[in-house]
């Protein structure tokens, strides 16, 4: 979701223009040569997800992908966004390794690139083509209409076409659980939420989180602060500072790259002697930002979904026209396996609510 901020930043003079281009050229993609992962590539898949177990590669799985190609078009955030583009790509690399298929990605630099990028894969006869993110909505629909034989898949949005498989997540359910953690562990009864942009998908995070807090601690207030951008860590830091200054001791962010600023603010406060917590998003962010500020994370297992749908498609089970919704029951969202900062009684409570949600006893709101 990270937007291409580098480019808009520094184009004052002609020389500055060229400099800016060179900088953005050099700076943004050091893993560009991973554009194609052959089966032999030693691709490290994400730690938490264990797709290899679920798909338990049998002798046949080794060869189902042979000679087949899978493509993925990123949104403008690029493949190294530390968010879902990266997760999805890591999953595809793993698929490639496990099945012998060939995987490739194309980065979209502008909105206008979505359609040609999808078309590139489709016209090259790829077995499955991914569009990562709700921004692909319209492009996916057009390409699907124009190429009825192509097999396409989409994350975070639904396209109602017989040759598109859509994957959605119940972010509200996972957020409910981290809301439970926050509600039980807050000492000030003041909790913060930093959102990227006021999109329906981010609203789902917020709604679930608030419901979770309210379920265990009705006295606690949740203040929200929307940054308006997914790639401005400085604004994320500012938003977090406002919340912490207002008395919050725990802040949950669903702000992509802007969320990095939330961690920075928390670390600054920690080194100034004030203990505050951040709840991460998408991945187990304690791995990146350290467990001294990361309370826990709301994981959205894009990698698992991508792995699963891709493997199925390779073995001939592409479910075009369907929408896969991954919630707690399906293991698509949830807390990391390892939560060193959360006491056992809180984890017990989390488990309790998890079961209630799965059983349908609690229906988590989406907005």
């Amino acid at each position: 979701m990270k937007k291409n901020a580098m480019k808009s930043a520094s184009l004052l003079l002609a020389t500055a223009t060229s400099l800016g281009l060179v900088l953005s050229g050099c700076g943004s993609n050091n893993a560009g040569n991973n554009g194609a992962a052959s089966p032999s590539a030693s691709a490290p898949a994400s730690e938490s997800a264990s797709p290899s177990e679920s798909a338990s590669p049998s002798a046949s799985a080794e060869s189902i992908g042979a000679g087949k190609k899978i493509g993925m078009a990123t949104d403008t955030g690029g493949v190294n966004d530390k968010s879902f583009n990266q997760q999805a790509w890591e999953a595809l690399e793993k698929v490639a390794k496990d099945t012998g298929a060939e995987a490739k990605y194309l980065e979209s630099k502008k909105d206008a690139d979505y359609q040609p990028n999808l078309n590139q894969f489709v016209k090259d006869g790829y077995a499955l083509t991914w569009g990562i993110g709700f921004l692909f909505d319209d492009a996916m629909k057009t390409v699907a209409e124009q190429n009825p034989d192509a097999q396409l898949a989409l994350i975070d949005s639904t396209v109602d076409m017989p040759n598109v498989q859509s994957v959605l997540f119940k972010e509200n359910e996972g957020s409910f659980l981290v809301g439970v953690v926050a509600g039980m562990m807050t000492e000030t009864n003041n909790i913060g939420f930093v959102g990227g942009m006021e999109l329906p998908v981010i609203k789902k995070f917020e709604a679930g989180f608030k419901a979770g807090v309210a379920a265990v601690n009705p006295d606690a207030v949740v203040n929200t602060n929307y940054v308006g951008d997914f790639s401005k860590p400085d604004l994320g830091k500012l938003a977090a500072a406002t919340l912490y200054d207002g008395g919050a001791d725990i802040v949950f962010h669903a702000a992509g790259g802007s969320g990095n600023g939330v961690f920075t603010e928390a670390k600054d406060r920690l080194s100034a002697g004030k203990k505050v917590w951040v709840i991460g998003v998408d991945k187990d962010q304690s791995l990146e930002f350290g467990s001294e500020v990361t309370l826990t994370s709301m994981m959205k297992k894009v990698d698992e979904a991508v792995y699963k749908v891709t493997s199925e498609a390779l073995s001939g089970n592409f479910q075009g026209g369907t929408t896969t919704v991954l919630g707690l029951a399906e293991g698509g969202v949830g807390l990391p396996a390892d939560n060193p900062n959360v006491p056992q009684e809180v984890l017990d409570k989390v488990e309790e609510y998890k079961q209630k949600i799965i059983s349908g006893e609690i229906a988590v709101p989406t907005e």
């Binding site: 184009l11 060229s18 194309l106 040609p116 909505d137």
Partner: protein
């Protein structure tokens, strides 16, 4: 005889200023890109081959390349026109966005007109709003002496957020981050051509762009208004002494520049997307336009050629990534280098002057 003379004059107008500089800059830029690729362990020949394959490989790609060129042509004309009157229109980006917004609003809100009226009306509407945005910076410059670079940068941000606000409040498609689709009666897409070009997004933009290119020439070199603008651009003091109203001409030039950029935005909506997204950052066509104008020497033919070059490089970069696994950033490096070499003309002249002098001497000896 007269043919010979008219050719000389024709070529003098835009070639004499040195055709060599851009050509050598392009070659050097490509060489620099090759060098970087070589350092990174890629095969430059293969990469550039893939780039051109991508652009000319299929009808679809040719069509999409034209689609990539169109906005660059418009913003290039915009920046170039203002340059001719001595102003640095760094605000083409904002004017482009306002053109998009105007087209979106008029294209959606008016629903009772036939195509023959609605589409041109939307075009003119978007153009005027873009022109207004340029005129704003022009007004601040001419009546208040505000440096146009500064006001343009400010207006770029205002345009972005104003546009987001207008779309969100007036024409938002519920549950998404984009506007409704524009009415079919406002569409500028050319369906039959699109289906001929294998579903590439073809629209009237390039045709209008070529018309604007000739208008650029006619206005500046064939009218008294253009004479005034150029006089102001080259020497505002001498223009003042000869009774030309310098502030008024600055205002006019910014308005016309804004109109060019505005039309570019119009076709992005009416031709390419048919809707406008709420976006945290602009697509940066305005900034690309600075590079296009610079390389094109602010002459319409030069701008046309350089927009084609940049369009080809930009669209082809995806192919380079796809077929030769070279990161697309390399192309940004190439473009950056070209601009750098154009901007540092002295460097290039140093390279070719002795060569030219030798040739001159030889010719004399021969004569």
């Amino acid at each position: 005889m007269s043919d010979n003379r008219s050719f000389r004059e024709w070529s003098r107008i835009f070639v004499a200023s040195s055709l060599w500089v851009p050509i050598i800059a392009i070659v050097l830029g490509l060489v620099c890109g090759a060098l970087v690729m070589w350092i990174g362990g890629y095969n430059a020949f293969e990469a550039y081959g893939a780039l051109f394959d991508k652009v000319f490989g299929s009808k679809y790609d040719i069509g999409e390349t034209v689609r990539t060129i169109t906005p660059l042509l418009f913003t290039g004309l915009s920046v170039g026109f203002a340059f001719r009157a001595g102003l640095f229109n760094i605000g083409a980006d904002g004017q482009f966005i306002m053109g998009m917004t105007g087209a979106t609003l008029i294209g959606i809100k008016i629903d009772f007109l036939p195509w023959i009226v609605h589409a041109p009306l939307t075009l003119v509407g978007g153009m005027l709003i873009g022109g207004l945005w340029g005129a704003l910076a022009g007004y601040l410059k001419s009546s208040r002496g505000v440096n146009e670079v500064i006001s343009c940068i400010m207006l770029n941000w205002i345009a972005l957020y104003l546009s987001n606000y207008l779309i969100r409040t007036l024409v938002l498609k519920p549950g998404t981050q984009r506007s409704e689709l524009i009415r079919d009666s406002a569409s500028m897409s050319i369906r039959w051509l699109s289906s001929f070009m294998e579903n590439a997004r073809m629209d009237w933009g390039i045709v209008v762009g070529l018309i604007c290119t000739s208008l650029f020439y006619i206005v500046l070199w064939r009218t008294k208004q253009g004479y005034e603008l150029r006089a102001v651009g080259f020497n505002p003091e001498a223009a003042r002494f000869s009774g030309i109203n310098v502030p008024k001409n600055m205002l006019k030039s910014m308005m016309i520049a804004g109109m060019f950029a505005g039309i570019g935005g119009v076709f992005e909506v009416l031709g390419v997307f048919h809707y406008q997204v709420i976006s945290a950052a602009s697509a940066g066509y305005g900034f690309d336009g600075i590079a296009v104008a610079l390389l094109g020497g602010n002459h319409p033919v030069g701008i046309l050629l350089s927009s084609i070059l940049f369009g080809v490089l930009t669209y082809g970069s995806a192919g380079m990534n796809f077929s030769a696994s070279v990161p697309t950033e390399i192309v940004r490096i190439v473009i950056g280098c070209i601009i750098f070499f154009v901007a540092s003309q002295g460097l290039i002249q140093m390279l070719y002057k002795p060569f030219m002098a030798r040739r001159e001497a030889k010719r004399k000896e021969a004569a």
